[in-house]
């Protein structure tokens, strides 16, 4: 009862005060605009329930003047203007569609005849029982249009960045499937709603048909914003913090904060302020936010020390930016602290937007900051890919080299065994046959058999004895090509065309072994399968690559290729791969075949 009395007394003393301001304005040819009243510079009187302005405007010039009176706060419910005998009601109680002059702020246009004086009475009703922040501004037509254009363009840029940012978050949610992006999206969405309401563009372009939407949208936005924000923080830290107990404490504390915050907001927006006086609202709300902020900052530091994860720094920075933004934003509604009023009033360019410019800049900063975070992560992904490709390449080469090594080792082993078992027997056979030949009459037959035995021995030699002797690794390229293909001379007419290759050119040891084997394999194949009469070997070297072409006029080799790549060809290919080179086979439809070996110089020298 006692409290109630005090409250009534206070309300009589403070809230029923009417502030009266009278001003005289002279309009000359240089007139641009003038502020009649600004709560931010005059905040001590701003908790009145009614503001009455008596304005006297004098036109000192010959021409007719078009002027605009703007009341800058798109959330005021009721404004009455008495202009001579006419009276006009402005304010949010009238739906936007029914406004005479459609503008984000409440605007009243006046036409002032030459040398004319006009008296206008303007009453602004404070629907809250707290300080009301608004500004009354009179400006000339050109200044009004200029400011309106610039404000809308600025708002547009902000929304554009926001829109692109939301799309970016959606994109990253799609590929990361991380729920934090969705919660963060909710935070951004509700924040956008708040901007929409407080700078008037929401009423102008979205909920223009309904005044109650304009009135209550901010409650929905604030509740949504806080819930999303707290669930983000809770979710984030419940992953980071290991101890279940501390998680519970965090949970309980956050719920308590949510409840108190929501209760206060509810009381504030339904005007049922109870026993709490206007300015206390500001301190309580800010107090809760600061406790919450302090808690989160402590948690961030603690978890960063524990886990050292980089995301925590981003969250911490983002959170500090949010706290600064809240303090400025809430102060714009309550205008309680003088130095904060100064910050709220700070403008880079003159504008009639109700939301402090500082809020715009802070939010844009946050968006750019998080974009940097996302881009760095995207870049990491690309880097990871390129590292994987390099590693894969390395592994492939290593595998090929081991494969080739295996072949060499086995070849050596097998040749020893063949030498021991088969070659010796055949040599003995040859000896015996020679002896028969001395006495035998059918000498022709026996000597042809001897030739065949020789062939067999050469064959065995071909199969086995070609493991690398150390001097091959040291050979110059031309010498290497000649040695590896010299067996062709016995059967086929071979032409070398190597004038393009410098005589002194020497490849590295690995390239020498591989190239020697490749050419040997090709020669073997040519001797065995192609019924070629002529073979041309051409070498071409340019700045970047070495090309060796082997063309013949045979037919047999074509069939061999068609047999789903024989082992010989597979060997050639795998050896070419280990040199980073390519093998091209050009078949001229039974008129011969050309094998083209192309290797990058940097890998073989």
């Amino acid at each position: 009862m006692k409290n109630k009395l005090i409250y009534i007394l206070f309300s009589l003393l403070i809230f029923q005060i009417t502030i009266g301001i009278s001003k005289e304005i002279l309009i000359d040819s240089n007139f641009t605009d003038i502020d009649i009243y600004n709560s931010l510079t005059n905040h001590k009187n701003s908790n009145a329930s009614k503001f009455v302005f008596e304005i006297k405007i004098k036109n000192k010039i010959k021409n007719e003047q078009q002027l605009y009176i703007s009341i800058i706060n798109p959330t005021i419910d009721r404004i009455v203007i008495y202009d001579g005998k006419d009276s006009v009601v402005l304010g949010d109680l009238i739906p936007f569609t029914k406004r005479k002059f459609k503008h984000t702020n409440h605007v009243y246009p006046i036409v002032l005849k030459e040398y004319n004086t006009r008296k206008i009475k303007l009453i602004v009703y404070n629907q809250y029982k707290k300080s009301l922040n608004f500004r009354v501004n009179i400006c000339s037509e050109n200044t009004f249009i200029k400011t309106t254009n610039h404000d809308n363009f600025f708002n547009g840029i902000f929304y554009g960045i926001l829109f692109m940012y939301i799309l970016l978050l959606i994109c990253f949610y799609i590929f990361s499937k991380n729920n934090f992006f969705i919660i963060y999206l909710c935070i951004i969405f509700f924040m956008m709603l708040l901007y929409f309401q407080y700078n008037g563009t929401g009423y102008q372009y979205m909920w223009f048909y309904s005044s109650s939407a304009q009135k209550y949208i901010s409650i929905i936005a604030i509740i949504g914003y806080l819930t999303a924000h707290i669930s983000f923080i809770r979710g984030f830290f419940s992953i980071q913090i290991k101890y279940v107990f501390s998680r519970y404490i965090l949970k309980i504390f956050l719920y308590i904060l949510i409840c108190i915050g929501l209760l206060l907001l509810y009381k504030l927006y339904t005007h049922s302020y109870g026993y709490i006086l206007s300015n206390s609202f500001y301190f309580i709300i800010n107090g809760i936010f600061l406790i919450y902020g302090f808690l989160v900052i402590c948690l961030c530091i603690y978890t960063y020390i524990e886990s050292g994860r980089r995301e925590i720094i981003w969250v911490l920075t983002g959170f500090i930016v949010h706290i600064i933004s809240w303090i400025v934003f809430i102060n714009n509604e309550f205008i309680t602290i003088e130095w904060l009023n100064y910050l709220t009033n700070y403008k880079l360019f003159s504008s009639n937007i109700f939301v402090p410019q500082l809020n715009y800049y802070i939010t844009m900063l946050e968006m750019f900051m998080i974009t940097v975070f996302i881009t760095i992560n995207y870049h990491k992904l690309i880097l990871q890919n390129s590292i994987s490709i390099k590693r894969l390449d390395f592994l492939q080469k290593r595998n090929i080299n081991t494969f080739v090594l295996g072949q060499e080792v086995e070849r050596e082993k097998i040749s020893e065994e063949i030498e021991k078992n088969i070659s010796k027997d055949i040599q003995n056979l040859k000896k015996s046959l020679h002896e028969i030949n001395k006495i035998e009459i059918e000498k022709e037959k026996v000597s042809s058999m001897l030739i065949e035995i020789d062939k067999t021995l050469t064959d065995i030699k071909n199969i086995t004895s070609n493991y690398i002797t150390p001097d091959i690794q040291e050979m110059k390229l031309i010498e290497l090509i000649n040695t590896s293909t010299d067996k062709l001379f016995y059967k086929i007419n071979t032409t070398y065309n190597l004038s393009n290759i410098p005589v002194s050119l020497r490849l590295n040891a690995l390239a020498n072994i591989n190239l020697y084997r490749i050419l040997q394999e090709i020669s073997n194949n040519a001797l065995k399968h192609s019924a070629a009469e002529n073979i041309t070997i051409t070498g071409i070297k340019d700045n970047k690559s070495l090309q060796i072409k082997i063309s013949d006029d045979g037919i047999g080799f074509v069939e061999n290729i068609n047999k789903s790549k024989g082992i010989g060809l597979m060997n050639i290919e795998s050896r070419m791969n280990s040199l980073n080179g390519n093998l091209y086979i050009i078949s001229n439809n039974k008129k011969g075949i050309t094998l083209n070996l192309i290797m990058p110089l940097k890998d073989i020298i």
């Binding site: 002059f101 459609k102 503008h103 984000t104 050109n142 249009i145 309106t148 254009n149 809308n152 363009f153 600025f154 708002n155 547009g156 840029i157 902000f158 929304y159 554009g160 960045i161 940012y165 799309l167 959606i170 994109c171 799609i174 590929f175 102008q204 372009y205 968006m367 750019f368 974009t371 881009t375 990871q384 890919n385 994987s388 490709i389 592994l395 492939q396 595998n399 081991t402 494969f403 295996g406 072949q407 086995e410 097998i414 065994e417 063949i418 078992n421 088969i422 027997d425 055949i426 056979l429 046959l433 028969i436 035998e440 059918e442 037959k445 065949e452 035995i453 062939k455 067999t456 065995i460």
Partner: protein, 592 residues
Amino acid sequence: MKYYILYTLLFLWTGVVASPAEMSFIVNKSMRCKPASKYLVLLKKTEDTSIYMLELKNTETKKEAILLEIPIQQIDKINVQQFVNNKLVKKYFFSSKKLSERIYYDRNIIFPFDINQNKINRIYFIFHNNDIHDFFKPEVLIWKKDAKIARTEALEMTRGVFYGILILYTFICFLLTILLGIRNYYYYLIYLIIGIVYLFVKNNLGNELLWPDYPTVDIFLKKIMLSLYLIASILFLRGFLSRRIKLQQLQNVLRYFIYFGLLLIFVSLLIGLLSAPAQKTFIIIQNVFAIVCLTTVIITFIFVYFNINDRSLVLFTLLYFISFSFFLFYPQPEFGRDVFGVYLGQIYTYSNAFIIATIISISTVYRVKKIIKDNEQLKKEMSLLNSHNNFSLIEGQQNERIRVSRELHDGVGIMMSALKMKMSLLKPKELKSKNDILKLTTEIDIICDTIRVFSHSLLSPTLKKFGLQVALKDLLEEYKKNGRSLSYNFNIPENLSPVSQQLIYDLIRKFIQYFSEKKPEQLTISIYIIASIKEAQIRIQYTGTSIDVNNEQIKSVISIIDLLTGKFQINLLNAWNFRIHMELPVLLEEKF
């Protein structure tokens, strides 16, 4: 459906082309904004001056205030006079001067008029022929004052949204370019920034926000920015092409485009000193160049689209290019006539920001998804390669064995058989010779046998033809035939790779060779291959003495298992029973 489209087209045609000519522009309550170009009547045209007349009729009961708008790109100086009942009422003179000194603050040229009811209102436009940049007549738009303000607010916001999207997008591109440092990205960044600056200049935003008091700077920038934009777009196109398609001729042609663009910039620098008609010719040349350039870019993109695998990226880039360029070249659709002005043009232009943002986002999602997919694929390939790595040596060895065995069998083996045939054809007369030949034939037989056995020891024909299971059975049954006691069981999956098949076969063969010499009383062999962990477990239990680790066969088994980082254990079960336990990795044939 067909008829419906036909009717719609007919309706549009009658609306666009066949609308009846009206003489006066009607101003009434419902009129908000309307193009008035078609009501302009040419009164007089001399060599120097043109005079146009616009007649307006107010059908309401009181006077109406209107705004008359002319786009600023079209005219430098103009004289406008209003006559009511043939009496001069208002007179305006506009010349490109400081923005703050305009009659009505707007980026275009605006003249406010009051239209009296029931009177003949005529507005005359007088200008020098050199001052108009349009080739026919000035475009005029008539507004109601409140409509103009409401429209400008919405328009400015949309424009702002467009810039906002581009700003954040450019920022992302800037970051990525700096991080990745790829040359192509720099070209793209230059294209994007020059495009935005060009848009900024063309929409008069530069004039309004940055150099409101320097109209000459504005005119000069407007002239060179188009050439710069075209050069940047060709540079971007060249970069885009060079990584995807190698066509030296196309690259050369595009290079000449760039040289020509640079020449145009140089000319525009000179033209400031030249006369007004020269400027007009310059503008015509520049416009033709712009059309040729843009058509080339679009055609090249379409060509690339049909000649490349990465089609979606090309499509997205083309769509983005068209959308961006459309906004650049058609910034004020409200001046356009009928369908292209009011309907399609405005809707498209004002929603362009959203269209571009959507294209950008879809292409980003597409690209990121592709990168992630590639990454996963790479990881799979890497793990496969890693598991292959230990087998490479063995694969190389086996490959060589396959080759030698085949060549021995096909080459040397066949030759020896032929030799034997020839030998049998010899008909010696002496008995000694006969005996000798018989001896030789036996020798050849032995050689052939040796070759066969050797070749088979290198590569078992059963294994090659019927797989590991059959080959092992064959091998073990052969062992059993000699009256030895052996039991075995296998569990071998079908997709065991040939390398592992050969490897296991070789291991078992080596053990069988070993046990053929040692002759244990009882031998049990079990082979299990566990596909999920890619491992083979081989257990050999036998009775007899402890295994001889210095034996050649056993040594080679141990070295193979070591190479594959497998496990080899000998356990003593009791005084007579021993167990060899081996674990080694295997390769399975996988599809990914």
